[in-house]
């Protein structure tokens, strides 16, 4: 075995380690640059034979070889060495870095040494070693077995990649994810914004800001008139709140006016088929305006409200149907938000302190685009002041349940405290604890054991009265319930489920229990 250990400042080894320039004046320890080893480290140059050897570390006692030092040390413990011999040689172990023995390799230079023995071994094998492992499917060859294994797992499976970065091996999963992913929403908004101008003059110039845009400029008065379909970009440059890079900016609507859109969405069922001809001057009329392509094309006037909504009017004219604007607008207001979202992507100012919950549809999409589909989305919804429970159906119960759950976690403590007094008259107080059902369940999942309760489980089946009220039912042998019913005891079970799983309390007593039925098998007919 040829091993040379050289401090970085010294020269020569059989492995051909080159000399490092002396380190700079180290008044304080210099932090090594990435890719550059610690200047104080010991450079080890192993020969190829050594690197590829599988049993470099040998036990002095039984001569068994190991690939790694850690394994050898573990093994040595088994020899019951007297304590003196158990220590390794007293000198302090310096950090070691390893160079590649191949002279033409970049890692041959000590200044590019690798810090990890396993790393240098793999590197040497991969780069300079013989590729002994071959994939059956695609014939790709690998020198390192673990590389080969990893490849074989995924070889042949096409991977689908969503714009958000997630990979899928299953096509259906990919499609479904993509349909709901924020990445698609942003992309479509961009695509629409960048579409070549037909009659959509402004859409060409209107650009959706990237997902995490800076806070929008203060809302300008919304009275900017949309230009007639023919583009007049120059006009737009005069807009005070224009973003430097974009000639046209969606004017963020003042918050109070935004809710209009979603109000309508909720009242969808009530909007009859006549919305396209609906009255001017109401918020609904705005949508009516949107629904009627012809009126949009010629609508120079902004409706005062929801100025942002008005914007798409000029952007849309050429292609209403494909934007899901139904001509029969009776129940299809959701197409409206599709167009409205365009302007929403120029983020509105943070929602007003009391946003209408129904603004959620579009603002949510936009906000979600900002924040990505993170698990905090539910909390930011609440943070937006949206009353999630206002949404129909399930989410209300979901939130309700959260509340219930939160409330009930505290119950086990109180009910447990009621416990001890009840214990005295009971013949087998420990059983309840044995059942583990009464144990409070704290947030870390640790079971709080009250030692005084964990006793005498054996009494369960030893000649005690037949009715063992360890559930604290207070029941007579006939089974008639006492006034209290199944009190504190059972209650925590139901509640404890709100922790990480009811069964955790169930399992609480397991460790410390006796096995009563061994003593009195006849009392346990079940088994």
């Amino acid at each position: 075995m040829e091993v040379e250990a050289t401090p970085t400042t010294a020269v020569s080894s059989s492995g051909g380690a080159a000399q490092l320039p002396p380190p700079g004046p180290p008044a304080k320890k210099k932090r090594a640059l990435p890719g550059m080893p610690d200047p104080d480290a010991e450079v080890i140059a192993l020969s190829p034979k050594t690197l590829l050897a599988t049993n470099r570390f040998v036990c002095e006692i039984c001569k068994k070889g190991f690939q790694r030092d850690q394994n050898l040390q573990l093994h040595r413990r088994g020899h019951n060495l007297p304590w003196k011999l158990r220590q390794r040689s007293g000198k302090e172990v310096r950090k070691r870095v390893y160079v590649c023995p191949e002279p033409s390799c970049v890692h041959h230079d000590p200044s590019r040494a690798l810090g990890d023995l396993t790393g240098i071994k793999k590197h040497f094998c991969r780069k300079h070693g013989e590729k002994k492992w071959k994939c059956d499917k695609c014939s790709k060859k690998y020198a390192v077995q673990s590389d080969w294994k990893a490849h074989v797992k995924t070889c042949g499976s096409r991977e689908y990649r969503c714009d958000c970065g997630t990979l899928f091996s299953r096509r259906d999963s990919f499609i479904t994810h993509r349909a709901f992913c924020d990445a698609l929403a942003e992309e479509s908004a961009k695509a629409r914004a960048e579409a070549p101008p037909a009659e959509d003059g402004s859409s060409a110039a209107a650009v959706v800001p990237p997902p995490a845009p800076p806070p929008p400029p203060p809302p300008a008065p919304l009275r900017q008139q949309p230009p007639p379909p023919a583009p007049h970009h120059a006009e737009q440059r005069n807009e005070p709140e224009t973003n430097a890079t974009e000639p046209v900016q969606f004017a963020p609507p003042p918050p109070p006016q935004v809710p209009v859109l979603s109000q309508t969405s909720v009242s969808a069922a009530n909007v009859s088929a006549g919305s396209s001809s609906s009255v001017a001057g109401t918020s609904q009329s705005l949508l009516g305006g949107m629904f009627a392509p012809s009126s949009m094309a010629s609508a120079p006037q902004f409706q005062n409200l929801v100025g942002g909504v008005g914007r798409p009017e000029r952007a849309l004219p050429a292609k209403p149907p494909s934007l899901c604007l139904a001509t029969d607008a009776s129940s299809s207001i959701f197409s409206a938000p599709v167009s409205a979202e365009r302007q929403q992507f120029a983020p509105p100012p943070p929602p007003s302190p009391s946003p209408s919950p129904h603004m959620s549809a579009t603002a949510l999409l936009q906000k979600a685009a900002q924040m990505g589909a993170t698990s905090s989305s539910s909390s930011f919804l609440r943070g937006l002041g949206l009353d999630v429970s206002s949404s129909p159906g399930a989410s209300s119960s979901g939130q309700q349940h959260h509340q219930e759950a939160a409330m009930q976690v505290s119950l086990p403590d109180t009910s447990l405290q009621q416990w001890p007094p009840r214990l005295e008259p009971e013949p087998a107080p420990g059983l309840s604890a044995g059942l583990g059902l009464g144990l409070p369940y704290d947030s870390t999942g640790a079971q709080v054991c009250l030692p005084e309760l964990m006793m005498g489980q054996s009494s369960l089946f030893s000649g005690k009265p037949a009715t063992l009220d360890f559930l604290g039912l207070g029941m007579s042998p006939t089974g008639a319930p006492a006034g209290r019913g199944l009190p504190a005891f059972i209650q925590p079970i139901g509640m404890a489920g709100t922790g990480a799983g009811a069964a955790e309390t169930f399992g609480a007593g397991r460790g410390a229990q006796a096995t009563p039925w061994e003593r009195n098998p006849s009392s346990s007919p079940i088994l």
Partner: protein, 425 residues
């Protein structure tokens, strides 16, 4: 005396139930079931002592982090305890209401998380794929398609249908999807509204060149108050839904469109006594296709013991499948298990079937459909092929078999989920 609690390997006694050593005795699937039955019998006959004893033993076996049998037992036990509370009169009643606290881990997910959730196993997507295949075939030649979606998975089914429609030779139809505002309060819970989902779907459809119109129809009464009990909510839901389906106006049906009614994990939430009426309402809409997917188990017996046994026998299938699909501490897996726990509680916790889940097997559902004037539509080879392709992407052990005119998803040969397509006679 030390207690041994070791898990033995898969046992010979029952196909894949693993076994638990408990103080030297072997407790495996069949014995757990026996214990459960003892407990059930005890509860039915008000024999509190026996019930306690059985629960004590079960408690020592159950573990929400153990092997599939242990995990399932823990959920069953939880449901039994909740039920036991109700045995105890008025004091018990309040507690039982509280004890029916929703399962842990029932948090609202984001849409992308839900997409991941439904894809952990083919349990849901099996029905999606088969139904979409049937829909595709049924709407050949139609220029407008309207899907009324009654499901608990919040439109996870539709992106793939949209994708398939977009590639239809001759071009995609104009598509409408309508969902009711009310649905069973069961997991999975979503943190966004139906409107938001519709928004994203429409966006997606547009990107594929498919015109999509999405609607949410309001069901009857205003949302039941949060304090009303789940069964009342469920009962109210059924009524609302029935009335909504009877109201062509509110559904916004149009002439010339091919109507599809998709019932995915829905029928089991309709009270058994109202199912025929529900199907009548559906039939009255004159749909061109009705797709029904649900769990292939009979869990509607009036006998508690039968229901308990049925729960153990059936839900074990998914628990076992989950065991091969995800590590024991995987939160996604626990969410699925908790959802099953919810179902069990619904089945076992109360005898009143109104508002509770009461699945009936595919065979019985098929009979019911026929009784109510529907004829089965066979799944074509293409649809079956899609299903097989889907299953090949999941763990080995999943399979599909034909039963009469329906398809049944199997895990290790056990029937799990059935799916069928029907058309009015």
């Amino acid at each position: 005396m030390e207690q041994e609690l070791r898990t033995g390997g898969g046992d010979n006694l029952r196909a894949a139930h693993s076994s638990v050593c408990f103080s030297g005795g072997l407790i495996d699937g069949p014995r757990i079931q026996q214990l459960l039955l003892h407990c059930a019998t005890a509860l039915e006959s008000n024999d509190v002592t026996l019930a306690q004893q059985a629960m004590w033993v079960l408690n020592n076996i159950a573990s929400s982090q153990g092997d599939p049998s242990q995990r399932l037992t823990s959920w069953l036990l939880r449901a039994l305890v909740a039920r036991a509370c109700r045995l105890c009169g008025p004091a018990g009643a309040t507690q039982s209401a509280a004890a029916r606290a929703p399962a842990p881990r029932e948090r609202a997910m984001s849409v992308t998380e839900l997409a991941e959730y439904v894809d952990l196993t083919p349990w849901h997507r099996f029905g999606f794929t088969a139904s979409n295949g049937a829909i595709l075939r049924a709407v050949v030649g139609s220029a407008a398609v309207h899907v009324v979606d009654l499901s608990v998975t919040r439109c996870m089914q539709w992106p793939t249908l949209i994708d398939m429609l977009s590639k239809r030779p001759g071009g995609p139809p104009a598509l409408r999807i309508t969902v009711p505002s009310a649905r069973p309060a069961v997991p999975p819970q979503l943190d966004v509204s139906d409107e938001e989902i519709g928004l994203r779907l429409a966006n997606f459809a547009k990107s594929k060149g498919v015109q999509l119109e999405f609607s949410v129809i309001k069901c009857g009464s205003p949302s039941p108050s949060p304090t009303s009990s789940p069964p009342k909510k469920q009962a109210a839901l059924c009524q609302d839904l029935a009335s909504v389906l009877s109201d062509r106006q509110s559904l916004g049906l149009r002439d010339g469109e091919a109507l599809v009614v998709n019932c995915q994990s829905w029928i089991r939430h309709v009270a058994p006594g109202s199912r025929d009426a529900f199907l009548d309402a559906v039939r009255a809409l004159n749909p061109c296709l009705v797709t029904v997917t649900d769990e292939d188990a009979d869990l509607d017996s009036p006998s508690l013991a039968t229901r308990i046994a049925g729960c153990f026998d059936f839900h074990w299938i998914l628990f076992d499948a989950l065991d091969t699909s995800a590590p024991r501490d995987s939160p996604r897996r626990v969410e699925h298990e908790a959802a099953v726990g919810r179902k069990i509680e619904s089945v076992v916790g109360a005898d009143d079937a109104d508002g509770a889940e009461r699945s009936e097997s595919g065979a019985r559902l098929a009979e019911r459909m026929r009784r109510n004037g529907f004829a089965a539509v066979v799944f074509d080879e293409e649809a079956v092929g899609e299903v097989r392709r889907l299953l090949s992407e999941h763990a080995t052990g999943w399979g599909v078999k034909r039963e009469e005119d329906m398809l049944v998803l199997t895990w290790k040969g056990h029937g799990a989920v059935y799916t069928g397509a029907w058309t009015p006679n």
